[in-house]
Symmetry: C2
Subunit: 121 residues, 2 copies
């Protein structure tokens, strides 16, 4: 069975099923935003990145320090930080040889804590 085979009689009686679909789709953000949104949440969908974000919630940190604290390689952390930076969740500040990473978005803490509330139910 593919997308167009659904017998609409299963749901409440609706005069024009196609128009309802359009109406529902019209009520949500545009397609492109939904992709961006999914990409944004992908950031939080990996435990390494979540750990990094939690660390940065306490204070800004350099790459090597994050790697040490999490017991991971500098390379792995650096790759993830690049991703976090692309997604504008962290920002950097160079001081000599070292580069400090810090959170760049105010929503992060509340998003994390709301997710945490969910899994703790």
């Amino acid at each position: 069975m593919n997308a167009s085979d659904h017998d609409k009689s299963c749901c409440e009686v609706v005069a024009d099923h196609e128009n309802l679909a359009k109406e529902l789709l019209g009520g949500m953000p545009p397609e492109e935003d939904l992709y961006d949104l999914a990409d944004f949440f992908k950031v939080f969908g990996d435990s390494t990145r979540v750990k990094i974000l939690y660390l940065l919630l306490c204070s800004e940190m350099c790459v090597g320090h994050i790697a040490d604290t999490l017991g991971m390689t500098q390379s792995a952390i650096s790759h993830q930080l690049r991703f976090l930076k692309q997604m504008k969740l962290v920002s950097t500040q160079r001081e000599g040889k070292t580069i400090f990473y810090s959170l760049a978005d105010a929503h992060i803490e509340s998003i994390l804590s709301q997710g945490y509330e969910h899994i703790k139910e």
Copy 2:
């Protein structure tokens, strides 16, 4: 360079670097919770699932109707709904042959909207 090779002198002077790491790790949720948290956010990290959640935000819907509205196969949607159910984001209610899915968590709307705020900056 691996995790233990980092020369701690790059950061602020800290008396006992290892203890600081433990302290930072102690300030965040336990390892297992962080995995659960990442798994939770993984749900929002796919545009198909985000679309489903947005639809269910409007009203409960049956599988075939969701598939139709999104222009995807019944199978694809059913697989995703199973995942959403496992993660306790949706719940089901059978009425005869059809099964209605609805949101099962109050955090979903605010998590989605905070994510949306972020990408709209």
